[in-house]
């Protein structure tokens, strides 16, 4: 019998320390990549800003899909709610960019609350369909309320005031990009804390086994709902960033297509790591941009081929692939 006395200390090296080190390195890498993008492609900043806005949405999607195990094809409802909230506020005289981001976050969080309340009533495929139905309802609502949203013509005439009263959102898009990058890094760091908090661990547990979590004495619904709200706030910030940098909000921001694309980007990058969300977004949108510039007419085939190739070569997503290559790996990607 070799039961070890309770007083004996744990011998394994501290997990947490290494984890923090990796996360700091990861964040630095994101900042470096972002700045590299700024120097390498000074002429593509509008595209890169769009990538950041979508990356925020895909990050927020990872919270739901990757950390809670709830598949959704309606995430654009949250993104769009943020975009329209910020857009409508901006048209009505609230033009300070940071305030608009906050408004977007609140709008997205509110939408997340509604979406979570409904979606958490079902599981599996029916749940997926609930998400589709919700995003379609949001889309319809935005189309119908054209007095506020501009309907299918889009909500135009957004004139965000300069950031801190100095930096204008102009043609070259430097302000928008750097603003977006800072926002992304900030959100990323916060989310890293969220997913490694007790709450984040609880979500991971719920993803694997809800019965077990209940037997630990935790209610599942409020935890998931809370994650929906957080996810909504992040997606809403993405929407607000898109609204500020584009100065137009269109119905596409609450569409099924955007939702489906976001899910594709996430799965492409790998679930449940947050890094995967960023990698997936950059690869997908970058690839799409490059092939559609080369051949604006028939690029879709190439994107399709990319997705197939990724499934064949790296079934756990691209970050799963890097995990496999560098066996040390971060938190596990995919399922």
């Amino acid at each position: 019998m070799q039961v070890i006395a309770p007083s004996e200390k744990l011998v394994a090296p501290s997990h947490t320390g290494a984890q923090i080190g990796r996360d700091v390195a990861g964040v630095l890498l994101i900042i470096a990549a972002g700045l590299a993008g700024y120097w390498l492609f000074p002429d593509n900043l509008a595209l890169l800003t769009r990538v950041i806005a979508v990356a925020l949405m895909v990050l927020s999607l990872d919270l739901i899909v990757g950390y809670c195990g709830i598949a959704t094809l309606g995430h654009a409802a949250l993104f769009g709610a943020g975009a329209y909230a910020a857009g409508i506020a901006c048209v009505n005289g609230v033009t300070e960019p940071l305030t608009l981001i906050v408004i977007g976050a609140v709008g997205g969080a509110a939408a997340g609350l509604v979406m979570g309340t409904i979606m958490l009533r079902a599981h599996g495929l029916p749940q997926l369909v609930l998400s589709i139905a919700i995003v379609q309802l949001f889309h319809e609502a935005a189309n119908k309320a054209s007095a506020y949203t501009g309907g299918s013509d889009g909500l135009s005439g957004l004139m965000p005031s300069p950031l801190f009263g100095v930096f204008e959102f102009d043609l070259w898009g430097q302000t928008a990009y750097l603003f977006g990058l800072i926002l992304l890094v900030f959100v990323f760091i916060v989310l890293k804390f969220v997913v490694s908090s007790p709450f984040g661990m609880l979500c991971r547990g719920i993803k694997e086994d809800q019965v077990r979590i209940r037997a630990m004495g935790a209610f599942v619904f409020p935890v998931l709902l809370k994650m929906f709200v957080i996810s909504g706030a992040v997606a809403g910030m993405g929407g607000a960033l898109a609204a500020i940098s584009t100065q137009v909000v269109g119905l596409d921001s609450v569409s099924f297509e955007l939702s489906a694309n976001a899910l594709v980007m996430l799965v492409l990058g790998g679930l449940g790591t947050l890094y995967g969300a960023l990698v997936g977004t950059v690869i997908f949108m970058g690839f799409e941009h490059v092939v559609s510039s080369i051949n604006p007419f028939h690029w879709m085939t190439m994107v399709g081929a990319l997705l197939i190739a990724v499934v064949l070569a790296a079934p756990k997503g691209l970050s799963g692939l890097t995990d496999r290559l560098f066996a040390s790996g971060r938190a596990k990607g995919g399922r």
Binding site: V3, E8, S197, L202
Partner: protein, 254 residues
């Protein structure tokens, strides 16, 4: 009467089929009770009824004088009615340390906090290490659960349950599926359970039952057919009938 836990007339039918019939049972603090019965006797259904996974058709569950029949599974756990699972339900990506930490934090109502750290609280860490140590899981505390031995996973199930500081603990076949070389560790863990805890154990392994239980209840076809001391079980006609009616030999009661 210093009873801690009581079920009265617990009945459950699915359609016309009664899987639990009028089960009544009481346990004082410190009780060590074993619930045995042939396959299909309704033992797991009984655990599910008691812990609130399923709703009874009739009857009451009373804990510490409070009727908890209408409470859901989660609230019963919070009141101190805790179970383990027959087949381990653990998170294969997490370490034992993380499992127990999460459970302790949950017990203290801190598990759904966003603005707090998962590790780093020294009182929590000490408690976690104490529990893991008591169950001999320190060596594997930082390995992923998917990588540790099944016997250790069973022990972790018990550690999680204990981390909830239960008043009543239901152990659903704690030794099921564990290779015989590892059973002594389980046995030892059971011996070390806090004395004040009321424990109800469902088990097939009669050696374990005899060593552990002070009292035995036999369930057959959803009904209690015997209640008494361990050594009386084998001699009871009803029990023999229940088992022999089901099996060609009665080795498991022998």
């Amino acid at each position: 009467m210093s009873e801690l836990f009581r079920v009265e007339g617990l009945t459950k039918s699915f359609g016309g089929l009664a899987v639990s019939r009028n089960i009544s049972l009481a346990m004082p603090a410190g009780e060590r009770l074993a619930l045995i019965g042939p396959n299909g006797a309704g033992k797991t259904t009984f655990v599910n009824l008691v812990t609130g996974q399923i709703k009874p058709s009739a009857g009451r569950v009373v804990l510490n004088g409070d009727d908890v029949t209408d409470l859901g599974a989660v609230r019963r756990v919070r009141k101190g009615l805790v179970r383990t699972f027959q087949v381990t339900r653990l998170f294969s990506d997490m370490t034992p340390e993380e499992h127990v930490t999460l459970t302790v934090l949950q017990r203290e109502g801190r598990a759904s906090r966003i603005l707090s750290r998962f590790t780093g609280d020294s009182t929590v860490a000490d408690e976690v290490h104490g529990l893991l140590g008591a169950l001999g899981l320190v060596e594997v505390a930082r390995r992923k659960v998917g990588e540790i031995a099944y016997g250790q996973q069973r022990l972790l199930e018990i550690a999680i349950a204990l981390a909830l500081k239960p008043k009543v603990l239901l152990l659903d076949e704690p030794a099921a599926g564990v290779p015989s070389s590892e059973t002594p560790r389980i046995e030892q863990a059971l011996e070390r359970l806090p004395p004040s805890l009321a424990v109800l154990m469902i088990e097939h392994d009669m050696d374990l039952v005899f060593r552990f239980a002070k009292r035995v209840v036999v369930l057959a076809a959803g009904e209690i057919i015997f209640e008494g001391l361990p050594f009386e079980v084998a001699a009871n006609d009803k029990v023999r009938e229940a088992y022999l009616g089901n099996y060609a030999n009665a080795r498991s009661v022998a």
